[in-house]
């Protein structure tokens, strides 16, 4: 008795014919044009594209931060609005507040949403414990390493229990080695918490190694150029191990060509 709904599940995020224009005295810039995209529950989507193609704009629209656009953006079938509690946004670099302890940083979202209570606090505490930061709860961000800070930022996002995580070049401020390790950790945590994620990055290897699907955007005005379903044969599906899979290089080469980078 598996009905039609399980054959064609309602996607968690639906973007239909999205067009976003920026106005300035010098003129009008079309950042995204007629972009349509579906993201299923539990999927990890990587979005790559030439710089200035509107990748971050797309995330900001889904996060409810940009509200002037044409087209439709639905999460669980409902139009997003400002302050939607469905999404968790991870900005570039961790943006932990230096004047708050890690624990207070983690509670930031709950505080903003006036949702601090015993249940939500114990959920947040559980996350800190699970991901090895409970001992640092009362430390300040400057006392933590780059990788730990990134984990704290992820827990801050997870603490409000969003349906979908939006990662906007979230690891770009880290050095290369930390970046690989953090990508591994983040991927594992997101999988364990059963979350859906959209990762915007300019790093093709990062996108392939973390995502189930890589979406390539065209030059501005951005729309979808191609979608690659990533299937890698490797023992463990962690971002670090993925890079050793034989198909990895093939995906890399074809996406590289599509991006058509001219320096």
């Amino acid at each position: 008795m598996k009905g039609a709904s399980s054959l064609k599940p309602v996607p968690l995020v639906e973007v239909k014919n999205l067009t976003v224009k920026y106005q300035s005295p010098e003129g009008e810039i079309t950042a995204l044009k007629n972009l349509s995209l579906e993201v299923g529950k539990g999927e990890f989507i990587g979005i790559v594209g030439p710089s200035g193609c509107g990748k971050s704009t797309l995330l900001n629209v889904i996060a409810g931060l940009i509200t002037t656009y044409t087209g439709e953006v639905l999460i669980c079938g409902k139009a997003v609005r400002r302050g939607t509690r469905m999404v968790g946004y991870m900005p570039q670099s961790d943006q932990l507040f230096e004047w708050r302890t890690i624990w207070k940083n983690v509670l930031l979202g709950l505080e903003v949403q006036n949702n601090l209570n015993e249940r939500t606090k114990s959920f947040a505490w559980k996350l800190l414990e699970n991901y090895g930061l409970a001992d640092f709860a009362h430390a300040y961000p400057r006392q933590l390493s780059g990788g730990m800070r990134q984990r704290a930022a992820l827990i801050r996002t997870l603490a409000v229990d969003p349906e979908i995580l939006l990662l906007d070049e979230a690891f770009s401020a880290l050095d290369y080695q930390t970046r690989l390790i953090v990508a591994d950790e983040v991927k594992q945590i997101i999988a364990r918490e059963n979350k859906t994620a959209i990762l915007v990055t300019h790093d093709i290897a990062e996108a392939i190694s973390m995502s189930d699907k890589v979406v390539v955007l065209t030059k501005r005005p951005g729309s979808i150029k191609s979608i690659h379903n990533i299937e890698l044969t490797c023992s463990e599906k962690t971002p670090l191990k993925s890079r050793e899979a034989p198909e990895f290089r093939l995906y890399f080469n074809s996406i590289w060509k599509e991006l058509d980078v001219h320096v």
Binding site: R85, Y89, P91, W99, V112
Partner: protein
Amino acid sequence: MSMSRPQQLVNISEEHFLYLQERKKYRFRVILGRIVLLAALLALWEIAGNLRWIDPFITSQPSRIIKTLALLHSEGALYQHIGITVLETVAGFILGTIGGTCIAIALWWSKFLSDVLDPYLVILNSLPKIALGPILIVWIGNGPPAIIAMALLISLIVAVLGVYSGFVQVEPEKIRLLQAFGASKGQVLQMVILPASIPTIISALKINVGLSWVGVIVGEFLVSRAGLGYLIVYGGQVFRLDLVMTSVIILAAAAALMYQAVVLLEKHLSRQ
């Protein structure tokens, strides 16, 4: 502490030990240098007066300043003068800081307001506020309120501009993070703009301390019958340069103390 100190010394390398010693010696020499400079200047001043290289009637002299201090102390008027001036300065300083921060918040809140007021702020900032002194006296009267208004006038605009520039320098990504959680404008102000701007507000405070003193002394020059500024003007008029010098030195000490109070506040806030 005293138990762990020798332990630390045992654990460090010879080079590090030497480095630390060198550092200690250097800092000692700096402090010594400061004391020697002060003592030498005072001695030179005193001797130059005694040997009539300079006329102590015009330049005063350390020994005369001490005598004047003792005299003012025994008359009891000294503390009243200091008290009035400090009170006026603190009042002008606090009002300037609170008022400046409130206006900066209003400017941050409304882009329209800040755009409308921009040219006025530029003009008020470049206008020498002292020129408004006579107007204040006519409007407010001859007394401490006019002096406090002078101090407020001088420090307010600088406070507004200093604090506002701190507000607009807050990383937009931090604001976006809060907005993505659904924060209202008030929450953004309270949770990120104000706490992130504390260092800028503190440095605005440091400038304001100095400006408030300027305002109060100028105000006292113009109107008052009490206070350190009054003593300086009065001393000048009756040609008692001892009184002028003494007042200036008390003023320097009081201003330095108030500045230190702000530095302590800064340390306290940054430790949190």
